[in-house]
Amino acid sequence: MGRYLNGHSDAAAALVDRYQQRLFNVALRMLGNMQDAEDVTQTVFQNAFLKLDTYDPKYKFFSWIYRMAVNESLNAIKRRQPTVTLEDELGIPAPGATADHKTEAEIRVGMALRALKPDDRAVVVLKHFASFSYQEIAQVLEIPVQTVKSRLFTARERLRLTLREHVE
């Protein structure tokens, strides 16, 4: 990040390489749609680079950029039109998904995540797809650790029930 601010143009590519897949996956699980996840990831990087000189190094960079990804995803959800596409409805994987054993899991996960409130979904995504600790999630979302646990446990219980219903 410092190299980027000092004019090293290759530093931008390095930052993108380092974070794009993780941020893209956070957005993908939050939104359930490849195209929207691309949009959000791109917007996050644009905003991040624009705000780099306002970034306070005393905070962890990952917290800062993940927070942007989550917030941008939440904004995207709010902006969404109330229409539901057939793909969304059926949980059909986005174009490019391989027709292997992951497909069924993708469908089930997508369906279960959509059943959660966006705020709860964010906690689950950061826990299970970004592998963050309670403390790290609290830093990213700027909420108390106890709230993280409360949301996570409630959401996971909901996921459990949803998946059970789906099987039955």
């Binding site: 980027y4 000092n6 004019g7 090293h8 143009s9 931008a12 590519a13 993108v16 390489d17 794009q20 897949q21 993780r22 893209f24 996956n25 993908l28 749609n33 490849m34 195209q35 929207d36 691309e38 949009d39 990831t41 791109q42 917007t43 990087f45 644009q46 905003n47 680079f49 624009l50 705000k51 780099l52 000189d53 306002t54 904004n75 902006r79 039109q81 229409t83 596409t85 490019g96 998904a97 054993h101 992951k102 899991a105 993708e106 089930r108 996960v109 826990k127 299970h128 797809f129 600790s133 309670y134 646990k149 996570l152 446990f153 996971r156 219980e157 996921l159 459990r160 998946l163 059970r164």
Partner: protein
């Protein structure tokens, strides 16, 4: 019936954060209570399901799109300008998000905005004759005025309404219908249209060499002629239609050529160009239904693809003459 503490204990076990003592309590609970056993098993299944899904690799185009959208850092750039630029673009992004064309603008990014601007330019024409072109470089410290385009000197014959180029355009039935349409009329009457014409950044960008080079380039002409571009401009802002049309345009060889065109890159990197994007009147015009309607019309597509019209569009006086003539037809 499990109590809250027992459920939390099991949840924490799933996350692997229990102490050895707590884990032992979980094992004892599970051994003694079938409900606890079922809960632990099902929660583990949830976690395993997420693990099976794993991560998706983002498409390669994402990195290219991100980097293309970034402004290359410049070590000599004063901090205040850097900060100003950051605020400016952030403001632009936020306002774009509120626009009707949000999806389109973000998806297409600076690339399509440039094309849309070219379209707006064709519709709105050059600044009025006699108006002094403003430059934001004059008012914002540190911003270098853009290189100016130096065209040939114009003669009185160029600006007369009897000019054969103007006449030829209005002999086209589609063009005539376009300028007589309600949408076109609304655009010309709108406050945003008039404010934009007075905007210094807008006037400045129209005079840059980079803009003219783009407008004259083969790649731009090919894009204007392409069905993919027409579909993008006609598409509904809804995600599905937009995405499809946009992918088609991305695959277009001319579009790819345009993105690698030095003039086009210079245009995108131009501070004034970016400043124009943040202008409220420009955004209002882009977001207006009437403007979008004009841009979506087949006749507009035909116009933009025609060399004759592009020649007119790049000439201040001819553009003015075109607008005057269009106005006359609307009477």
């Amino acid at each position: 019936m499990l109590n809250t503490d027992q459920i939390e204990l099991i949840q924490r076990e799933i996350d692997g954060v229990n102490t050895p003592e707590d884990s032992a309590r979980v094992r004892a609970l599970v051994a003694a209570d079938p409900e606890a056993q079922a809960l632990l098993a099902e929660l583990r299944e949830v976690g395993q399901l997420f693990e099976r899904v794993g991560e998706r690799a983002p498409p390669p185009r994402l990195k290219r799109a991100i980097l293309a959208a970034l402004q290359t850092p410049h070590v000599e750039m004063p901090q205040s300008i850097s900060r100003w630029f950051a605020v400016l673009l952030q403001s632009t992004t936020e306002r774009l998000e509120e626009m009707v064309m949000t999806k389109k603008a973000i998806l297409i990014g600076a690339t399509a905005v440039a094309i849309v601007i070219a379209g707006a330019y064709v519709v709105t024409g050059y600044p009025r004759l006699g108006g002094a072109a403003g430059t934001i470089g004059d008012s914002i410290s540190g911003v270098q005025p853009a290189a100016r385009y130096h065209g040939r000197a114009l003669t009185q014959g160029d600006v007369t309404l009897d000019n054969p180029q103007i006449a030829a355009l209005f002999q086209n039935h589609d063009v005539l219908n376009l300028v007589k349409s309600d949408a076109f009329r609304e655009v010309m009457k709108s406050d945003a249209f008039h404010m934009l014409q007075q905007n210094g950044a807008f006037r400045e960008i129209l005079s840059t060499q980079a803009f003219h080079m783009v407008m004259q380039g083969d790649a731009y002409r090919e894009i204007m002629k392409s069905d993919a571009y027409r579909e993008v401009m006609k598409s509904d802002p809804s995600r599905e239609a937009q995405s499809h049309a946009w992918r088609e345009l991305q695959a277009n060889a001319a579009f790819q050529a345009l993105q690698s065109n030095p003039s086009f890159q210079a245009l995108q990197a131009n501070q004034t160009f970016r400043a124009m994007q943040s202008d409220a009147s420009f955004q209002a015009l882009m977001a207006s239904n009437s403007f979008q309607s004009v841009m979506a019309k087949d006749a507009m597509h035909v116009l933009q693809a025609s060399q004759l019209f592009r020649d007119v569009a790049q000439n201040a006086q001819l553009s003015q003459a075109f607008l005057s003539e269009a106005n006359r037809f609307q009477q």
